[in-house]
Symmetry: C2
């Protein structure tokens, strides 16, 4: 990364650096997956120590106002008291047992109650489990093979969907067809090319591909997908792993009135406890009954108790409305600061899951400077992945974070002036 600003970081980093050295010896590349901090500017810690509400602390004791929320799971704030109490009460009885606890029934009933299209639910551990199971159910029910996905969309890290080609064989993606998000004609063309063999169309609630400006869904596009699925018998699969319970208290397309047949959930549904879910309608129930999917911890009760408590608290706290309010305050504040510094930015996506990019900043050089300085000043954003608000952020937290981002914009302005 080229930096044209002063990269000196006055915050302590020693513990993080020691741990990185040890990790490089015993973990491939020092870290793997989406939490590999070598992809981020220097001020971002690799190792985190603790969190409370919207504040997190790294292993060197540096505190941040958290706008990543663990890349999505933390929707009520870190260590929400009701969720913690529910999970611990269940842990005190039993978690991973010879059968699920009765909480699995409660949780499935919650999904059926809260999510309009859901007649049933089943539970897993990873978002990838949920998206993969949706595809498997769709194929089981329709007895067709082709699956449409949007170009560049992220639906998990199994061989059929991981963004990296290493270790993947072409057959893993043999029956994938691609369309462009919000381009119904591209969907129609893909369907036509499939020769009446379409099992499913997979779609994200909005276009939230990393390293790209976000794009809200055109209601006509969502309705068009529903019609195409009705016409062809294909399953409409909403990948709500990243957005679920942050955009709406229910499925993310309920405000549009568009009901998927199957939806994939994870991240925020248990406020950080490991849980994923598939919800489906009755048309796909038999298909779901025929497949065999399972995992050693898919029946564990503590995460499910956390899930029930999370869904209830989200409703009780009117969490979506809170995140919309604070997210808008953040967006407005950033817009005013950019303007004051004479910098052109793009703010895209829903305000609860925003992304900010800089005009012409294809290699994210300015975004890296901005994120680095914000992190050094106690606000944890991300240079090229959408951010996440939580219901624990208050107006005062937003304003405090904006004090950090003002310094970050100043650094960007300096870098631009030096060009």
């Amino acid at each position: 990364m080229t930096t044209t600003y002063d990269p000196v970081d006055a915050r302590p980093r020693q513990r993080d650096h020691e741990l990185r050295d040890r990790a490089r010896r015993v973990i491939p590349g020092g870290m793997y997956g989406h939490q590999n901090a070598t992809r981020l500017p220097a001020a971002y810690p690799q190792f985190m120590a603790s969190g409370e509400g919207c504040r997190v602390r790294d292993v060197d004791g540096n505190e941040y106002i958290d706008f990543m929320c663990s890349y999505g799971p933390i929707v009520l704030g870190h260590r929400h008291p009701d969720v913690e109490a529910a999970a611990r009460a269940q842990l005190d009885r039993g978690d991973c047992q010879n059968g699920p606890g009765e909480v699995i029934v409660e949780l499935a009933e919650r999904f059926v109650d809260v999510v309009d299209h859901a007649d049933w639910a089943l539970f897993a551990k990873n978002g990838t489990d949920a998206t993969t199971t949706c595809v498997t159910v769709a194929r089981s029910q329709t007895e067709k093979r082709k699956v449409l996905v949007a170009e560049g969309a992220y639906h998990g890290a199994a061989p059929w969907c991981t963004p990296a080609p290493a270790g993947v064989v072409p057959e893993d993606r043999a029956h994938l067809l691609h369309y462009r998000f919000n381009d119904l004609e591209s969907v129609t063309k893909a369907v036509e090319s499939a020769d009446d063999d379409v099992a499913a169309i997979v779609v994200s609630p909005f276009k939230h591909d990393a390293r790209h400006d976000q794009e809200l869904v055109d209601p006509a596009f969502a309705n068009g997908l529903r019609s195409i699925c009705d016409d062809t018998g294909a399953a409409l699969i909403l990948d709500d792993v990243r957005c679920g319970f942050r955009l709406a208290h229910g499925g993310s397309w309920e405000p549009l009135g568009v009901a998927p047949d199957l939806s994939a959930w994870s991240k925020a549904i248990a406020n950080g406890y490991p849980l994923a879910a598939v919800a489906g309608n009755d048309r796909f129930r038999a298909g779901a009954e025929r497949i065999f999917v399972t995992g050693s911890f898919w029946f564990s009760a503590a995460a499910m108790a956390a899930g029930v408590a999370t869904i209830d608290a989200l409703g009780r706290e009117d969490a979506v409305a809170t995140m919309v309010r604070t997210g808008q305050r953040l967006r407005d504040g950033l817009a005013a600061q950019a303007d004051a510094h004479g910098i052109t930015i793009n703010q895209t996506g829903p305000v609860q899951m925003p992304l900010m990019t800089f005009a012409g900043d294809e290699s994210f050089e300015l975004a890296n400077i901005w994120g680095d300085v914000a992190a050094r000043n106690g606000a944890y954003f991300h240079p090229w992945h959408n951010w996440f608000l939580s219901a624990a952020h208050t107006d005062a937290d937003i304003d405090e974070a904006l004090a950090a981002t003002d310094l970050a914009f100043a650094a960007v302005a300096t870098a631009l002036a030096a060009r």
Copy 2:
């Protein structure tokens, strides 16, 4: 299931039956996966309430001595104090965060210390994550495609390996080749058919296929696989998901002196907390660095803290030796009882992970009677899936369970006499 014995069950079942009715409405088939109790005789509960040591309790308050240990995860006994303390101390700080806790480094170091062949480790949530990642790393490193698996072996529930065909397309298994466990010639033939394109040979520590008598590995077979992999450059992948830390304090083939290149772990490694691992040697490190695998909860710290505490407690308590002793006591007791009742049984597999079948009982009719009566009398075995001992079982627990199995054998003898 045909029963020729009195199926009356005096134990309370009302809560379980109420929950099953509710579950049928909101969960496909009433339950999914390996914990679907409709596959088991009537005395087995679907829903569990709690566990402590080797004792578990269902939602109607019925207690059982547990010989399934949650299908493997519980290796130290339910709610082991050291593991619980470590997990809760971590939960009190933070679990799912913007980066892993420093405990990920500790845990990876433990794997490298304790598992002979391991130079590195990475962590996930499901056994299926671990086996799939091993295959992906092998393909990434070797740039070859074919993967050998044993006929009938279980390596997880993703489309490439799930035992059910529904929802799976042929391409998911396009590059799988099959061999017979302990039959080196069948391996050689499969390798020859692969035209120098073998990425990996996947093998279980012993043959533990459900519904079959278990079969220990022939050391010559294990050594032969190692030689074939050395000759061809393929990865030897040990699927230690089910056996890891129960057969040896280290990899399950360490007592044989056969080192895999990659090994897959889950189940027992965190005594019930959701965790999986891949361990690998330096030859496959670059391949592991190139792939992209991840999950929202793969970096969560509480399960990793549980993992470190579990590995330490397993060593400190000499858990494998304890399970060997109590497992042998169970095996001897069952043999004596069967003999006394004039019943021919097969006891197979390691004593820590035993299976008992009845001679000529292809449809598991006798096994179902036996398991049903044992469960009604407070001992939780399984009719056709291998059992699991834990380090919490004492000689007195084994003897108490044997009192239940004696009644179960009597019921089988009655059924046989009525034929």
